[in-house]
Amino acid sequence: MKAPLSWLKEFVDIDITVEELEKKLFSCGLEVEETIYYGKNIDKIVVARILKTEKHPNADKLTVCQIDAGKYGNLQIITAATNIFEGALVPVALDGATLFNGERIYNGQLRGLPSYGMFCSGEELGITDDFYPGASVYGILILNEDYPLGAEVKDVLGIEDVIFDINVTANRPDCQSILGLAREVAAVLNKPIKGPSLEYVATKGVSTKATIKVSDKAPDLCPRYMAHYIKNLKIGESPLWMKKRLFRMGLRSISNIVDVTNYVLLEIGQPMHAFDLNDLEGNEIVIRRAENGEKIITLDEKEFALSENNLVICDSVKPVALAGVMGGLNSEIKSTTKDVVFECAKFARDNVRKTARLLGQRTDASSRYEKGIDANSAEVGLKRALHLVDELKMGEIAEDNYDLLFEKIENKVISTKISKINAVLGITVPTDVIVNSLEKLNFEVKVSGDDIVVKAPLYRDDIEDYPDLAEEVIREYGYEHIEPTLLKTSSITAGGLNKEQTDIANLKTLLTGYGFNEILTYSFVSEKEYDIFGFDKNSDEYRFIKILNPIGEDLSVMRTSLLPSICRIIASNLKRKNMEGRLFEFAKIYQPKSLPLTELPIENEVLSLGVFGENEDFFTLKGVIEDLISNFAYGAEVKFVRSNKSCMHPTRSADVVINGKVVGYFGELLPQIADKLDIDKKIYVGEIKYYLLKEFFNNKIVFKPISKFPPVERDLAITVGDNISWGDIYSVIKESAGDKLDSVKLFDIYKGDQIEKGKKSVAFNLTFVSLEATLTVEEIDQAINNILECLKSKLGAELR
């Protein structure tokens, strides 16, 4: 909300500096987001009279003027402007002057003749016709009053002002007006508020009710509707002071009657509308819900198709205004308008909000209604408007009006205890301070012992109970009175991470230990991503939740896989010439129970892994996954089987299977997909469904005795068919070795000269150990023989 200091001063005697006022407003919750020192730059631009004009001897388009600048003496100014004349009073920027925009002016030479300054236009003074007549003309501003020569123009025209842009919180719609802000200023300065004047003189014999019929057919959406007739309107321009105020608030002057409605909106915070009576067919106003499909063209010439959810103001035939949003083009004030009906109403907050949003038509009026307007404000607003009409002699004001009121107007009364107010704050505020703080804010207060009864002003709809009063008190008393305590009455609680949270923290610690950096990416992705990554239309990945109002297609669906995100991050890193890295993300995927969503989806935690760079391959990820599983799911049976995931390289990827359940996949990204992502290197990525892995967690540690007897090692080399995997060989060894086998380590795989074609040599080391005794050669030999026999019978392996 913008508020010019000059306007606030009309209501409150402000006798402190702008900076001090800013601080006071800030401390009571009205943060000044910006302070605009309007026209502060302007300097050394003074009133001067043009005494004589001559054509420049060396230039056709220049005029040489002799001026009288009062105490600055008679000076020569050369100008290209054509609207000047001898005797004209003009603003002149003298040597060293500063214009509105900060530009400096110095003495100079123009085509051989000296010029001791420059004549100024309205624009160079930061003003328009709305601020001073003639200020918008192309050329020099011709001053039309007899100001003293040599006087600073910004002073005589009153250009300078300070405009506060104040952040008003959503609970204080009453502060969305100059008056509302002035009330707060008055409270912090502990000064009375002056005005605004609401008196007016009506014209005998002019009657609203005799002229027009008004009926409210939707009291739920329009709890109060006031209408007041003004006869024989003298439509014309607003007075300069009013134009200036509208100008300061960034509004253009339209006509005196329209300006009055805008003025009241700004000053009182009450939206108003003025109808041309002659356009209201049947001399009637009906407030009703629109019919489905009914249409209206608003003042800005936009057409809207309406529904029964929209409230409209109609004449006997058609809608003439979109209630609380904007008037209709069909009943607008024209230069020929003679008779006017003022509308001053309270429309339901929620309905205006819905209508404005649905139609995408948000106006100053709708924004006030959306924030909430108290029912009393309609009456204050109307009276203020009529006062202005009267003051400006704009027309004959009817003696009566319509006031269709469907809600009670009553002050909220809160009966509570002073001790309760203090308990919220945690300090004991002196009772007189409590009373005084509330009274300054126009609350009526009665105290008896610990009991306090508070009557809130009508415009304070936000006040509901003692916590609200506590806030008002501390706002005025000052937050510096709060004495910090560390939960002094609170019970001791254990706190800390639970097992699940600790597991995740440990998982991340392990991953960082493996050299992985954590990434964080958006939870929403483009729908197209699912096609790029070739997820099957029937897969879980393809069952995603769409956002109704996404920022853009790029961020429009909730992800069901972390894989696309990590691949994108690797792609962008490669693009930036970061040629290696190990990345992980631990985040949620969102899996709907049904589509479209009828209940909350399941949010499951997933770990994505990605490595890229010269030294990375499939086995980097495999090693990491193996170690993770052995850390968290000790003793679980882990298998790696060929993955048929469509985004993975078909022969360089694996599913991770624990106790028969697939908990994830990893491997080289399918080259065709890498291509689409502009990745020209091999990258290795994967996803571990943490929520599935979690089921196998077993990190309970039970001490296992260490053998006192020496281990025995044997190396074996076998030849076996090329198609036999190490996994198969390993399984056979484990099954056939007996209980003394401690470990199996693969150390060589060889194909070549000495090996039969289609076969390979596999060499491994076996370690045997017993807890009970030193193993004998016979025991070991027996175990080895058994292993070799099984390898032969099951896999056709021969000892080399």
């Binding site: 929620d350 991470l497 890193n573 969102y590």
Partner: protein
């Protein structure tokens, strides 16, 4: 005889002086103290020694043997030392060559800060609760005293899935979910992802918040400031102070905006704090009694405090990051800067 002894001793010492290898020492050992060495041979003349002197002669021989062996041992140790030294010399490394590459990774800066926040509050007895990110309108708004079409909904642009399901726009959603299931005393910290339809240098459509909630008997605005004072000292530094000023959130009353003294200039005023000396870091307040009542907690017995802070904001202030988007680009060169533990 004494002369003979001296001669052997002298000769042994002299021959030892020129010795340069362990092998030579071995030879000398054999020559002097071996089975038929010169010293050992002296015992052969025992027969010529009068009986009463035999014992002292034997002792003298043995003493000489020990003495000479002592010289050998010393020399041997010297030689071993020399040999080791020359071996070390040969094995000398250029220790300025680069180490074998072992690089630990690290958490994302937002999670580093999140963990710092978690540590600060778990130390004060808080538990961690993470609610769902896709939430019902009820938990995200209505239970927090924000009815449908309430102007407070304009404080944040919410992403909707449908009329009743939203992407949570604040972690305050956790408040109600916790209070419905747990009775006071409650000390909960609720960190997580939140979503708002905003995208520029200081707003990201997805970001992280951390909501704190205490409900117990006698909780007041003083406790709120005391708790936050403690927190900001942990997360920034010991000199950091807080300042409360009035604000509005539908779920707290009174509501406050909390500023901290600027971490860069400590309140003197600089570019980071735009000359004010203070930086806004979080919103907070005394839990609105309507919210307590919505959760079945008797507001006549219990009161609460709540606060919500943006993890991005704290992270950006702490590390001097000016564009929020940097945090989500995940450039490895950026990520690796946060490796100091």
């Amino acid at each position: 005889m004494q002369e003979k002894f001296n001669q052997i001793r002298q000769s042994a010492i002299e021959s030892l002086a020129s010795v340069t290898s362990m092998r030579e020492i071995g030879e000398l050992r054999a020559k002097y103290v071996g089975k038929s060495g010169e010293v050992t041979s002296l015992l052969r003349s025992m027969k010529d020694i009068p009986n009463d002197q035999k014992a002292s002669f034997g002792k003298m021989v043995n003493d000489l043997k020990d003495e000479i062996m002592g010289y050998f041992n010393v020399k041997e140790a010297e030689l071993k030392q020399k040999e080791l030294e020359s071996q070390f010399e040969k094995e000398a490394l250029d220790i300025t060559l680069p180490g074998k590459k072992v690089v630990a990774g690290n958490l994302h800066p937002l999670n580093i800060v999140k963990n710092e926040i978690i540590n600060a509050f778990t130390g004060m007895g808080f538990e961690i609760f993470e609610g769902p990110e896709i939430e019902t309108d009820y938990y995200c708004f209505q239970a927090l005293n924000i009815p449908k079409d309430h102007p407070a909904r304009d404080m944040q642009d919410t992403f909707y899935i449908n009329d009743d399901i939203v992407l949570r726009s604040q972690t305050s959603t956790g408040q109600v979910r916790v209070m419905e299931n747990k009775k006071p005393p409650i000390k909960i910290l609720s960190p997580g992802r939140v979503y708002r339809s905003d995208d520029d240098a200081s707003h990201s459509p997805m970001f992280h918040q951390c909501e704190g909630l205490v409900v117990d008997k006698g909780i007041s605005l003083c406790d709120l400031q005391g708790l936050l004072d403690e927190f900001v000292k942990i997360i920034f530094d010991k000199q950091t102070k807080t300042r409360l000023r009035p604000s509005y959130f539908p779920f707290t009353e009174p509501s406050v905006e909390v500023d901290v003294t600027c971490s860069k200039c400590h309140g003197k005023g600089c570019s980071l704090c735009k000359g004010t000396g203070w930086i806004e870091i979080l919103g907070a307040g005394v839990v609105n009694k309507k919210v307590l009542e919505n959760c079945g907690i008797d507001s006549n017995v219990y009161s609460g405090l709540a606060f919500g802070l943006g993890i991005e904001r704290v992270t950006m202030i702490k590390y001097g990051i000016t564009d929020i988007r940097t945090l989500f680009e995940n450039n490895v060169k950026f990520l690796k800067q946060f490796d100091r533990r």
